[in-house]
């Protein structure tokens, strides 16, 4: 298996860790990192209004995106049971910390480092590492105060800027996003950018069979809008997406300190069809 589809297989990755990953891959524990690499992708990106989290996820109830604390959100790809238990553990960690210290004392950095330690210790001591990849995002009062952390199954942690892409064909999505990402957009534009980048994996000849299985499993109703132009990948519809945002100033906009907000399908449909309506 080539390095590219491995979740940790990025150019800046420590080659030693990659080595261990390959060993684990061949081990008897049943660990299959390609499961992470083959799954649907998730994008977390910063913008003027805050941080947008966009996942390709046909299920309306089995979430890949979640709320951890006031200004901290969570996104994951991989095995649902594993990242869901990590999400719940993160909520417990943050709530205990906020309750025993103060709400301001809960930070994404602290949480990400706890995640890294626990993923790392599972990776080295257990028979099978967690088949997950996580992003922990904290929205700041200003864009420069935003934090994005990416965690892989072996406990490696990366401090990312601007955006994080995880899951299947992350490289394709990352390339698309690198071309189109812009700091000064509001949430609607940021979500459309992310959806366009996620859709870049569709309709490509080498991935047709893979994405075709996903679509047929869900029925064709998930597609929004009309048939895409020839050569353009078909854009994901609201029914196949899970979107949430971390508001930069939730207190003034919604009167709460909890920045995390899910965008429901109706709102998302309106948001995605925005630019065409003009």
């Amino acid at each position: 298996m080539s390095a590219a589809p491995l979740p940790g297989g990025r150019a800046d990755h420590d080659p030693a860790v990659l080595c261990i990953a390959r060993t684990a891959n061949e081990g008897p524990g049943g660990f299959r990192p390609e499961r992470i690499a083959r799954g649907r992708s998730v994008v977390v990106l910063t913008c003027r209004d805050g941080i947008a989290l966009v996942a390709e996820n046909p299920s309306p109830s089995l979430h890949k995106l979640g709320e951890i604390y006031d200004r901290i959100g969570f996104a994951a790809v991989g095995k649902y049971n594993e990242f869901e238990s990590l999400r719940q553990a993160g909520v417990r960690y943050a709530d205990v910390r906020g309750y025993s210290y103060s709400r301001e004392d809960v930070s994404a950095r602290g949480l990400a480092s706890v995640y890294a330690q626990s993923l790392g210790s599972v990776f080295t001591t257990e028979g099978k590492p967690f088949e997950v990849e996580l992003a922990v995002a904290e929205v700041g009062a200003e864009p420069y105060a935003d934090h994005l952390y990416r965690l892989t199954f072996d406990g490696s942690i990366a401090d990312e800027s601007n955006f994080v892409v995880m899951g299947g064909q992350a490289e394709v999505v990352r390339e698309a996003l690198a071309r189109t990402w812009n700091q000064d957009t509001g949430f609607p534009e940021a979500v459309r950018t992310a959806v366009a980048a996620l859709s870049a994996t569709r309709g490509r000849p080498e991935q047709t069979s893979g994405s075709g299985v996903n679509v047929n499993g869900d029925g064709s109703s998930g597609y929004g809008g009309s048939e895409a132009a020839a050569g353009e990948p078909e854009r994901l519809g609201a029914g196949l997406l899970e979107v949430a945002v971390l508001d930069r100033s939730p207190l003034s906009s919604r009167g709460t300190v909890r920045a995390f907000r899910r965008i429901n399908t109706v709102e998302l449909d309106r948001l995605l069809s925005g630019p065409e309506g003009n």
């Binding site: 109830s61 979430h63 979640g66 709320e67 951890i68 719940q88 909520v91 417990r92 709530d95 205990v96 906020g98 309750y99 025993s100 709460t256 909890r258």
Partner: protein
């Protein structure tokens, strides 16, 4: 934690309750974990500030809760600024009477409990569920209550299923009672309830409900030395929250000042004993 039997693993799954999580992993953080040792009954109460009167009443479209601003320690005023009514989550508020320090801690735990459930389960707790969780917290405080450190909350919220405002009272043993129309707790509650009996009527609008609550607290302060009335010198007014289908909202001080000033003026003009 390895379970060979999947059914056992289901029972062993971590609870969605923050309090249960603390009890299992951080018992020292629970307010009810405090021990007084062998202090005699009643001796602790005189040493700790006591929060006093809370009133709550339903009105057309929701429920309201108001509390005065006084805490006392024996015959002393411990605080003129204390707030005793807090939002519990979007659709509920909770007020407290009794030992202020324990009560404030209990409220903080209760707020995290509701938010924690919301985040873990991905759906808010039902209003009855919330009132039952609060009852469990009051019950866990029973040993301290018997030593004189009682906490008696009043809980009110908007039931998003039934589309109406509801309120619940508690006793120190964790007994939970749904109240209708209005209720009050704390040292001045007897006088406040007497006032509410005459002032409350069905179908009050929000503004009228605020005026009724402020007047009931005024009457409580008139006869109970531990309840504070509107403080015109320091510009202190009761804390008032309303909860309706749009969630909870704190009544701004400016509106309360108007309401309180109107009330004092009306009573001054009347120039009567009552």
């Amino acid at each position: 934690m390895t379970h060979r039997d999947p059914a056992a693993a289901v029972n062993g799954a971590p609870p969605p309750s923050f309090t249960d999580h603390l009890a299992r992993h951080h018992p020292g953080l629970l307010p009810s974990a405090r021990q007084l040792g062998t202090a005699g009954p009643g001796s602790a109460a005189a040493a700790a500030p006591q929060a006093t009167t809370i009133v709550s009443l339903t009105y057309a479209g929701g429920v309201l809760m108001a509390g005065d601003r006084r805490a006392t320690m024996g015959n002393m005023i411990a605080s003129r600024h204390i707030k005793k009514v807090f939002p519990a989550d979007t659709y509920s508020v909770v007020g407290i009477a009794g030992t202020a320090g324990l009560a404030v801690d209990m409220i903080r735990l209760f707020q995290v409990e509701l938010e924690h459930y919301d985040k873990i389960e991905g759906t808010p707790m039902s209003l009855d569920g919330k009132s039952n969780r609060l009852a469990a917290m009051v019950r866990s405080n029973l040993p301290l209550a018997l030593q004189g450190l009682a906490v008696v909350p009043l809980f009110a919220g908007y039931d998003t299923e039934r589309h109406l405002g509801r309120l619940f009272s508690y006793d120190v043993t964790g007994g939970r009672y749904e109240e209708y129309e209005f209720h009050s707790v704390g040292s001045g509650s007897v006088f406040a309830r007497g006032a509410l009996k005459k002032l409350w009527q069905p179908g009050l609008d929000e503004e009228q409900a605020v005026a009724v609550a402020v007047e009931a607290l005024y009457d409580a302060a008139d006869d109970d030395s531990a309840t504070g009335g509107p403080d015109l010198v320091r510009q202190l007014w009761p804390v008032v929250y309303v909860v309706n289908s749009a969630g909870h909202r704190e009544i701004p001080e400016r509106e309360l000042q108007m309401t309180a000033r109107n009330l004092v003026e009306r009573r001054s003009v009347a120039g009567r004993e009552s």
